[in-house]
């Protein structure tokens, strides 16, 4: 059972030879997961702030629902979005099924609860004085919002990274909505799943190594972009 040396060699081989198929699936994976994370973040950040900061009657309920949705299985998201974008669904005309856009649609739904819940937790833990001070400095609602995001930025970035990790390593949604079509919607994870089904564990692992290397690279860049020095100092 020497999957590992085999897997590492294969991974290196695939990377060094710039295997065109591998390049293609890596590009697809990246494009999809970055788009999903971006869109989900745009939605989740304000959503989390509204939930964390506003007082409304159903707040308790919304919070529990949000925590519940953290266990949303990919299959449920897959079937749900499928029922919308399938030919017989209400969005069938748009022809999103088995396209990268279809996957993004599903992944966005998958991680909105995660990113929102994590950012909500961050906002909860912020010092109340932040808001008072912002108001007294003459901040408009919008500016207060921006100031809050800036204060909570490390926590928010942490939540977004968790969301990105989730979609990059996710299989179910990509499989059901993308269809793992070679050259079109095949991603690193669906390819891995395929190889695993074929019994080619070493090859699947090689793809896994590539995926993790990619993730490492992206996290490295993020780390330095987010004022690595300050981050490390704390």
């Amino acid at each position: 059972m020497d999957y590992y040396t085999d897997a590492i060699f294969r991974a290196l081989e695939l990377i060094i030879t710039l295997d065109s198929e591998v390049i293609q699936i890596v590009t697809t994976s990246l494009k999809i997961s970055i788009s999903s994370t971006f869109i989900a973040s745009i939605i989740s950040i304000p959503l989390a702030i509204v939930i964390a900061r506003n007082k409304f009657k159903t707040k308790k309920f919304i919070n529990i629902i949000l925590n519940t949705l953290l266990s949303l299985p990919t299959v449920v998201v897959g079937i749900f979005v499928y029922s919308l974008i399938s030919r017989r669904g209400i969005m069938g005309e748009l022809d999103l099924l088995f396209t990268p856009t279809g996957i993004i649609f599903g992944q966005v739904l998958l991680i909105i609860p995660l990113i929102t819940a994590l950012i909500r937790n961050v906002i909860f833990s912020m010092d109340e004085k932040l808001y008072k001070t912002a108001v007294s400095m003459g901040a408009s609602r919008r500016q207060k919002f921006k100031l809050l995001i800036s204060e909570a930025r490390y926590g928010i970035i942490g939540a977004v990274i968790a969301g990105f990790g989730r979609v990059l390593g996710e299989i179910g949604v990509s499989m059901m909505l993308g269809g793992n079509i070679k050259g079109v919607t095949r991603t690193i994870t669906t390819a891995m799943s395929l190889e695993t089904n074929k019994g080619r564990f070493a090859f699947a692992l090689a793809l896994g190594i590539i995926l993790l290397s990619l993730s490492f690279l992206i996290n490295l860049i993020t780390y330095y972009l987010q004022e690595g020095k300050n981050y490390a100092r704390r």
């Binding site: 088995f98 089904n197 074929k198």
Partner: protein, 251 residues
């Protein structure tokens, strides 16, 4: 142009489609998108009009599909065969049996562990019909339902030193990594016919019926059938063409 074909995982895993489809894609300047899922899911995709054509092996379900008007012009394309796998030590002595039904009866009487896919796939349906023929209702601790695809199920049988019904293609793909051996094969009831069904354009107006028919034509043509006939893996032929007579094929 794009033609979406829903098929089963085992078909795609065999690698046949990568030989079979490119000449068609070239000739018709079309891209064939292969979506490989479970048999039931492939049929459901067809029913919802999310595929232009389906390529599966589950004769009864296929007939029902056509009878309900979801598909038209079903054609037989090819068949392969199922084999019964078991541990090399063959504790139930299946190697001595002749027919598949005999083998199943012996497995049950010896109480040897058997892995069923239990997923309503073509393979699963074939297995259940064999139990039926053997007059046995499989039940008990020796009978495990894996609820998974062929490959993982073979792996499970290998891990647990159990018997299993598998398609030859997947078995061959796994044969390098597992200890299981073929303990029974060749019985005609183990043949596994594949059919292709274009989706009914009267039911789903948007489907690419023209191209679906073109693909049907191509697969059942001499060219398509030849490719199937000549496709080899692990030095064995995996599929046998069934649309035209053997004497009309070329090497």
């Amino acid at each position: 142009e794009v033609l979406t074909m829903a098929t089963t995982t085992s078909t795609e895993n065999s690698g046949l489609l990568e030989e079979l489809l490119p000449p068609f894609e070239e000739k018709f300047e079309v891209r064939v998108d292969v979506v490989a899922v479970g048999t039931g899911a492939a049929i459901e995709l067809g029913r919802n009009g999310d595929a232009d054509i389906i390529f599966v092996h589950a004769r009864e379900a296929e007939n029902e599909f056509v009878a309900n008007g979801y598909g038209v012009n079903r054609r037989d394309v090819m068949y392969n065969d199922f084999v019964i796998l078991g541990p090399p030590s063959d504790p139930a002595g299946i190697k001595e049996t002749e027919t598949a039904v005999e083998a199943f009866q012996k497995i049950e009487s010896e109480g040897a562990e058997f892995i069923s896919r239990g997923d309503d796939s073509g393979t699963n349906k074939k297995e259940l019909s064999l139990w039926d023929n053997a007059g046995i209702t499989p039940d008990g601790s020796w009978y495990l339902e894996s609820g998974q695809g062929m490959g993982p199920s073979i792996n499970m049988a290998n891990e647990r030193q159990a018997y299993i019904l598998a398609d030859r293609g997947t078995y061959l793909a796994y044969s390098g990594d597992i200890e299981l051996e073929i303990v029974n094969s060749g019985d005609p009831v183990l043949f596994n016919p594949y059919g292709i069904i274009p989706i009914n354009p009267a039911y789903h107006r948007h489907v690419n019926y023209q191209l679906a028919m073109a693909l049907t034509g191509y697969l059942t043509s001499q060219q398509g059938q030849n490719i199937i006939n000549n496709y080899q893996r692990y030095d064995e032929q995996l599929f046998y063409p069934s649309a035209i007579e053997a004497e009309n094929l070329e090497e």
